[in-house]
Protein backbone atom coordinates (compact mmCIF):
# COMPACT_ATOMS: atom_id res chain seq x y z
CA UNK A 1 0.00 0.00 0.00
CA UNK A 2 2.73 2.45 0.93
CA UNK A 3 4.80 1.75 -2.18
CA UNK A 4 1.96 2.70 -4.50
CA UNK A 5 1.24 6.02 -2.90
CA UNK A 6 4.72 7.06 -1.81
CA UNK A 7 5.62 8.79 -5.05
CA UNK A 8 2.94 11.40 -5.53
CA UNK A 9 2.03 13.95 -2.93
CA UNK A 10 -1.11 15.45 -4.45
CA UNK A 11 -4.17 13.24 -4.54
CA UNK A 12 -2.39 10.68 -2.40
CA UNK A 13 -4.92 10.51 0.40
CA UNK A 14 -7.84 10.21 -2.00
CA UNK A 15 -6.28 7.40 -4.02
CA UNK A 16 -5.15 5.58 -0.90
CA UNK A 17 -8.71 5.83 0.46
CA UNK A 18 -10.10 4.42 -2.80
CA UNK A 19 -7.49 1.71 -2.71
CA UNK A 20 -8.39 0.82 0.86
CA UNK A 21 -12.06 0.62 -0.07
CA UNK A 22 -11.24 -1.61 -3.05
CA UNK A 23 -9.23 -3.94 -0.80
CA UNK A 24 -12.05 -3.99 1.78
CA UNK A 25 -14.73 -4.70 -0.86
CA UNK A 26 -12.61 -7.47 -2.41
CA UNK A 27 -12.12 -9.03 1.01
CA UNK A 28 -15.86 -8.79 1.66
CA UNK A 29 -16.63 -10.74 -1.53
CA UNK A 30 -14.07 -13.33 -0.44
CA UNK A 31 -15.55 -13.59 3.06
CA UNK A 32 -19.13 -13.75 1.77
CA UNK A 33 -18.08 -16.60 -0.52
CA UNK A 34 -16.39 -18.48 2.33
CA UNK A 35 -19.58 -18.18 4.40
CA UNK A 36 -21.96 -19.04 1.54
CA UNK A 37 -19.91 -22.11 0.63
CA UNK A 38 -20.01 -23.24 4.32
CA UNK A 39 -16.19 -23.49 4.32
CA UNK A 40 -16.31 -21.50 7.55
CA UNK A 41 -17.77 -24.62 9.22
CA UNK A 42 -14.92 -26.96 10.24
CA UNK A 43 -17.42 -29.85 10.27
CA UNK A 44 -18.09 -29.39 6.55
CA UNK A 45 -14.36 -29.22 5.74
CA UNK A 46 -13.70 -32.39 7.74
CA UNK A 47 -16.64 -34.08 6.02
CA UNK A 48 -14.93 -33.33 2.71
CA UNK A 49 -11.54 -34.54 3.93
CA UNK A 50 -13.21 -37.73 5.18
CA UNK A 51 -14.79 -38.22 1.74
CA UNK A 52 -18.38 -37.88 2.82
CA UNK A 53 -19.18 -34.86 0.65
CA UNK A 54 -17.20 -33.42 -2.25
CA UNK A 55 -18.67 -29.95 -2.44
CA UNK A 56 -15.36 -28.25 -1.58
CA UNK A 57 -14.05 -29.28 -4.99
CA UNK A 58 -16.71 -27.01 -6.48
CA UNK A 59 -15.65 -24.19 -4.16
CA UNK A 60 -12.01 -24.51 -5.14
CA UNK A 61 -12.79 -25.08 -8.81
CA UNK A 62 -15.07 -22.07 -9.09
CA UNK A 63 -12.61 -19.82 -7.29
CA UNK A 64 -9.62 -20.95 -9.37
CA UNK A 65 -11.40 -20.48 -12.72
CA UNK A 66 -12.46 -16.90 -11.94
CA UNK A 67 -9.02 -16.06 -10.52
CA UNK A 68 -7.16 -17.58 -13.48
CA UNK A 69 -9.28 -15.54 -15.90
CA UNK A 70 -8.54 -12.29 -14.05
CA UNK A 71 -4.82 -13.05 -13.72
CA UNK A 72 -4.57 -13.85 -17.43
CA UNK A 73 -6.72 -11.07 -18.87
CA UNK A 74 -6.21 -7.96 -16.69
CA UNK A 75 -2.47 -7.43 -17.45
CA UNK A 76 -3.27 -7.62 -21.17
CA UNK A 77 -5.96 -4.97 -21.02
CA UNK A 78 -4.20 -2.51 -18.70
CA UNK A 79 -0.59 -1.48 -18.34
CA UNK A 80 -1.15 -1.01 -14.61
CA UNK A 81 -4.08 -1.44 -12.26
CA UNK A 82 -6.17 1.72 -11.69
CA UNK A 83 -5.40 1.75 -7.95
CA UNK A 84 -1.94 0.19 -7.84
CA UNK A 85 1.63 0.51 -9.09
CA UNK A 86 1.85 -2.75 -11.00
CA UNK A 87 0.38 -6.24 -11.28
CA UNK A 88 2.00 -8.48 -8.68
CA UNK A 89 2.69 -12.18 -9.11
CA UNK A 90 2.21 -15.05 -6.73
CA UNK A 91 5.74 -16.31 -6.16
CA UNK A 92 5.97 -19.97 -5.35
CA UNK A 93 9.26 -21.82 -5.28
CA UNK A 94 9.84 -25.49 -5.84
CA UNK A 95 11.95 -26.29 -2.80
CA UNK A 96 11.99 -28.21 0.44
CA UNK A 97 10.23 -25.62 2.63
CA UNK A 98 7.31 -25.40 0.19
CA UNK A 99 6.69 -29.14 0.26
CA UNK A 100 7.49 -29.72 3.95
CA UNK A 101 5.38 -26.72 4.91
CA UNK A 102 2.49 -27.90 2.74
CA UNK A 103 2.65 -31.33 4.36
CA UNK A 104 2.56 -29.82 7.87
CA UNK A 105 -0.24 -27.47 6.83
CA UNK A 106 -2.27 -30.43 5.56
CA UNK A 107 -1.86 -32.33 8.82
CA UNK A 108 -3.15 -29.33 10.75
CA UNK A 109 -6.00 -28.75 8.29
CA UNK A 110 -7.02 -32.41 8.53
CA UNK A 111 -6.97 -32.18 12.31
CA UNK A 112 -9.13 -29.08 12.76
CA UNK A 113 -10.80 -28.34 9.41
CA UNK A 114 -9.82 -24.67 9.61
CA UNK A 115 -7.49 -22.88 7.20
CA UNK A 116 -6.42 -19.20 7.40
CA UNK A 117 -9.27 -17.63 5.37
CA UNK A 118 -12.16 -19.30 7.21
CA UNK A 119 -10.45 -18.75 10.57
CA UNK A 120 -10.71 -15.02 9.92
CA UNK A 121 -14.04 -14.91 8.07
CA UNK A 122 -15.78 -17.17 10.58
CA UNK A 123 -15.49 -14.44 13.20
CA UNK A 124 -18.02 -12.45 11.17
CA UNK A 125 -20.64 -15.06 12.02
CA UNK A 126 -19.94 -14.70 15.74
CA UNK A 127 -18.22 -18.07 15.97
CA UNK A 128 -15.97 -17.49 18.98
CA UNK A 129 -14.84 -21.13 19.01
CA UNK A 130 -12.77 -20.31 15.93
CA UNK A 131 -10.62 -18.00 18.08
CA UNK A 132 -8.78 -21.15 19.23
CA UNK A 133 -7.85 -21.94 15.63
CA UNK A 134 -7.09 -18.29 14.85
CA UNK A 135 -4.80 -18.02 17.87
CA UNK A 136 -3.13 -21.29 16.92
CA UNK A 137 -2.47 -20.07 13.37
CA UNK A 138 -1.05 -16.78 14.65
CA UNK A 139 1.27 -18.58 17.09
CA UNK A 140 2.27 -21.08 14.41
CA UNK A 141 3.18 -18.22 12.08
CA UNK A 142 5.17 -16.59 14.91
CA UNK A 143 7.04 -19.84 15.55
CA UNK A 144 7.83 -20.20 11.85
CA UNK A 145 9.26 -16.70 11.57
CA UNK A 146 11.15 -17.07 14.83
CA UNK A 147 12.85 -20.31 13.83
CA UNK A 148 13.49 -19.12 10.25
CA UNK A 149 15.59 -16.16 11.30
CA UNK A 150 18.85 -18.12 11.23
CA UNK A 151 18.43 -18.78 7.51
CA UNK A 152 17.03 -15.33 6.81
CA UNK A 153 19.13 -13.14 4.56
CA UNK A 154 18.03 -9.50 4.24
CA UNK A 155 19.35 -9.16 0.68
CA UNK A 156 17.12 -11.87 -0.73
CA UNK A 157 13.87 -9.95 -0.57
CA UNK A 158 11.84 -10.20 -3.75
Amino acid sequence: MTAAVAGSAAGTSRSSLLRGLAVLASGALFGFGLALSTMIRPEVVLGFLQWRDFGLMLVMGGAVVVTAAAYAIAPRLMRRPPLGDHFHHHVSLLNRPTLVGAAIFGIGWGLCGVCPGPAIAGLGTGNVDLLWALGGIALGALAQGWTARSQFQPASNP
Partner: protein
Protein backbone atom coordinates in the same frame (compact mmCIF):
# COMPACT_ATOMS: atom_id res chain seq x y z
CA UNK B 1 -20.71 -34.40 14.03
CA UNK B 2 -23.82 -36.55 13.66
CA UNK B 3 -25.68 -34.06 15.78
CA UNK B 4 -24.46 -31.23 13.58
CA UNK B 5 -25.60 -32.94 10.42
CA UNK B 6 -28.94 -33.86 11.96
CA UNK B 7 -29.63 -30.24 12.76
CA UNK B 8 -28.62 -29.04 9.30
CA UNK B 9 -31.45 -28.26 6.95
CA UNK B 10 -30.28 -30.82 4.41
CA UNK B 11 -29.94 -34.46 5.40
CA UNK B 12 -26.95 -36.54 4.37
CA UNK B 13 -27.51 -38.63 1.30
CA UNK B 14 -24.70 -41.19 1.11
CA UNK B 15 -25.43 -41.93 -2.55
CA UNK B 16 -24.61 -38.38 -3.63
CA UNK B 17 -21.26 -36.71 -4.12
CA UNK B 18 -22.82 -33.48 -2.91
CA UNK B 19 -25.07 -34.49 -0.05
CA UNK B 20 -25.85 -30.88 0.88
CA UNK B 21 -26.61 -29.77 -2.69
CA UNK B 22 -24.12 -28.06 -4.98
CA UNK B 23 -25.33 -24.52 -5.74
CA UNK B 24 -24.02 -22.86 -2.58
CA UNK B 25 -20.66 -24.59 -3.06
CA UNK B 26 -20.23 -23.37 -6.62
CA UNK B 27 -21.75 -19.96 -5.82
CA UNK B 28 -19.45 -19.56 -2.83
CA UNK B 29 -16.43 -20.49 -4.94
CA UNK B 30 -17.39 -17.93 -7.57
CA UNK B 31 -17.70 -15.23 -4.89
CA UNK B 32 -14.28 -16.17 -3.48
CA UNK B 33 -12.81 -16.01 -6.98
CA UNK B 34 -14.54 -12.68 -7.60
CA UNK B 35 -12.92 -11.25 -4.45
CA UNK B 36 -9.43 -12.37 -5.46
CA UNK B 37 -10.05 -11.20 -9.03
CA UNK B 38 -11.37 -7.77 -8.03
CA UNK B 39 -8.40 -7.23 -5.72
CA UNK B 40 -6.03 -8.01 -8.58
CA UNK B 41 -7.81 -6.02 -11.28
CA UNK B 42 -8.17 -2.87 -9.17
CA UNK B 43 -4.95 -2.89 -7.15
CA UNK B 44 -2.67 -5.50 -8.73
CA UNK B 45 -2.35 -7.31 -5.39
CA UNK B 46 -2.36 -11.07 -4.88
CA UNK B 47 -4.69 -12.04 -2.06
CA UNK B 48 -3.50 -15.17 -0.28
CA UNK B 49 -4.65 -15.26 3.33
CA UNK B 50 -1.81 -16.81 5.31
CA UNK B 51 0.70 -13.96 4.93
CA UNK B 52 -1.36 -11.63 7.13
CA UNK B 53 -0.52 -13.87 10.08
CA UNK B 54 3.19 -13.12 9.55
CA UNK B 55 2.94 -9.51 8.38
CA UNK B 56 0.81 -8.48 11.38
CA UNK B 57 3.49 -9.73 13.78
CA UNK B 58 5.79 -7.06 12.27
CA UNK B 59 3.81 -4.50 14.30
CA UNK B 60 4.67 -6.33 17.52
CA UNK B 61 8.11 -7.88 17.20
CA UNK B 62 11.43 -6.44 16.04
CA UNK B 63 12.71 -9.81 14.88
CA UNK B 64 14.44 -9.22 11.51
CA UNK B 65 12.43 -11.97 9.82
CA UNK B 66 9.18 -10.14 10.47
CA UNK B 67 10.68 -6.77 9.48
CA UNK B 68 11.32 -7.85 5.90
CA UNK B 69 10.16 -5.31 3.37
CA UNK B 70 7.62 -7.68 1.83
CA UNK B 71 5.83 -7.98 5.17
CA UNK B 72 6.13 -4.39 6.40
CA UNK B 73 5.05 -2.88 3.07
CA UNK B 74 2.00 -5.14 2.77
CA UNK B 75 0.83 -5.37 6.39
CA UNK B 76 -1.62 -2.48 6.05
CA UNK B 77 -3.65 -3.71 3.08
CA UNK B 78 -3.50 -7.29 4.35
CA UNK B 79 -5.22 -6.27 7.57
CA UNK B 80 -7.85 -4.33 5.60
CA UNK B 81 -8.38 -7.38 3.39
CA UNK B 82 -8.81 -9.54 6.52
CA UNK B 83 -11.33 -7.03 7.88
CA UNK B 84 -13.17 -7.38 4.58
CA UNK B 85 -13.38 -11.14 5.10
CA UNK B 86 -15.01 -10.63 8.49
CA UNK B 87 -17.35 -8.02 7.01
CA UNK B 88 -18.41 -10.25 4.10
CA UNK B 89 -19.11 -13.22 6.36
CA UNK B 90 -21.04 -10.91 8.68
CA UNK B 91 -23.21 -9.73 5.76
CA UNK B 92 -23.92 -13.38 4.88
CA UNK B 93 -24.81 -14.13 8.51
CA UNK B 94 -27.22 -11.21 8.77
CA UNK B 95 -28.84 -11.93 5.39
CA UNK B 96 -28.89 -15.74 5.27
CA UNK B 97 -27.47 -17.16 8.50
CA UNK B 98 -29.17 -18.53 11.59
CA UNK B 99 -30.31 -16.02 14.23
CA UNK B 100 -27.75 -17.25 16.76
CA UNK B 101 -23.96 -17.13 16.28
CA UNK B 102 -22.41 -20.16 14.60
CA UNK B 103 -20.68 -22.61 16.92
CA UNK B 104 -18.23 -25.42 16.38
CA UNK B 105 -18.57 -28.75 18.14
CA UNK B 106 -14.87 -29.60 17.83
CA UNK B 107 -12.94 -29.58 21.13
CA UNK B 108 -10.80 -26.50 21.74
CA UNK B 109 -7.53 -28.43 21.84
CA UNK B 110 -8.21 -29.86 18.39
CA UNK B 111 -8.78 -26.36 16.98
CA UNK B 112 -5.68 -25.01 18.73
CA UNK B 113 -3.35 -27.89 17.83
CA UNK B 114 -4.58 -27.95 14.24
CA UNK B 115 -4.24 -24.18 14.04
CA UNK B 116 -0.63 -24.26 15.23
CA UNK B 117 0.31 -26.71 12.47
CA UNK B 118 -1.73 -24.79 9.90
CA UNK B 119 0.02 -21.53 10.79
CA UNK B 120 3.52 -22.97 10.91
CA UNK B 121 3.11 -25.07 7.78
CA UNK B 122 1.39 -22.44 5.65
CA UNK B 123 4.04 -19.83 6.45
CA UNK B 124 6.90 -22.28 5.84
CA UNK B 125 5.32 -23.18 2.49
CA UNK B 126 4.56 -19.48 1.83
CA UNK B 127 0.94 -20.24 1.03
CA UNK B 128 -2.23 -21.99 2.15
CA UNK B 129 -5.50 -23.10 0.57
CA UNK B 130 -5.95 -19.63 -0.92
CA UNK B 131 -2.30 -18.69 -1.53
CA UNK B 132 -1.24 -21.90 -3.31
CA UNK B 133 -4.70 -23.25 -4.02
CA UNK B 134 -6.42 -20.23 -5.56
CA UNK B 135 -3.70 -17.65 -6.35
CA UNK B 136 -0.98 -20.18 -7.19
CA UNK B 137 -3.14 -22.44 -9.34
CA UNK B 138 -4.82 -19.34 -10.79
CA UNK B 139 -1.43 -18.20 -12.07
CA UNK B 140 -0.52 -21.71 -13.27
CA UNK B 141 2.45 -22.21 -10.95
CA UNK B 142 3.78 -25.76 -10.88
CA UNK B 143 5.21 -25.48 -7.32
CA UNK B 144 1.78 -24.44 -6.11
CA UNK B 145 0.19 -27.46 -7.76
CA UNK B 146 2.68 -29.71 -5.99
CA UNK B 147 2.01 -27.90 -2.72
CA UNK B 148 -1.75 -28.39 -3.17
CA UNK B 149 -1.34 -32.10 -3.95
CA UNK B 150 0.93 -32.47 -0.90
CA UNK B 151 -1.38 -30.77 1.57
CA UNK B 152 -4.45 -32.50 0.17
CA UNK B 153 -2.72 -35.87 0.66
CA UNK B 154 -1.68 -35.20 4.27
CA UNK B 155 -5.05 -33.59 5.07
CA UNK B 156 -6.98 -36.60 3.74
CA UNK B 157 -4.72 -38.99 5.65
CA UNK B 158 -4.98 -37.01 8.89
CA UNK B 159 -8.75 -36.53 8.72
CA UNK B 160 -9.32 -40.20 7.95
CA UNK B 161 -6.93 -41.15 10.76
CA UNK B 162 -8.75 -38.93 13.23
CA UNK B 163 -12.04 -40.48 12.11
CA UNK B 164 -10.73 -44.00 12.53
CA UNK B 165 -8.68 -43.81 15.71
CA UNK B 166 -10.18 -41.04 17.78
CA UNK B 167 -13.73 -41.27 16.52
CA UNK B 168 -13.89 -37.50 16.61
CA UNK B 169 -16.03 -36.11 13.85
CA UNK B 170 -17.56 -39.53 13.21
Amino acid sequence: MIRFFATATHRMDPTSLFSFGWRHYLGGGLFIGAGVALLFVLTGLVGGMSTVFTSTWSYLTRQPYFQQERFVSSRGWRLVFAAGLVLGAFVWWVAFGPPQPLRTALPWWQLLAGGLLVGYGARLANGCTSGHGICGLGSLQLPSLLAVLTFMATAFATAQGVLRFAGSGA
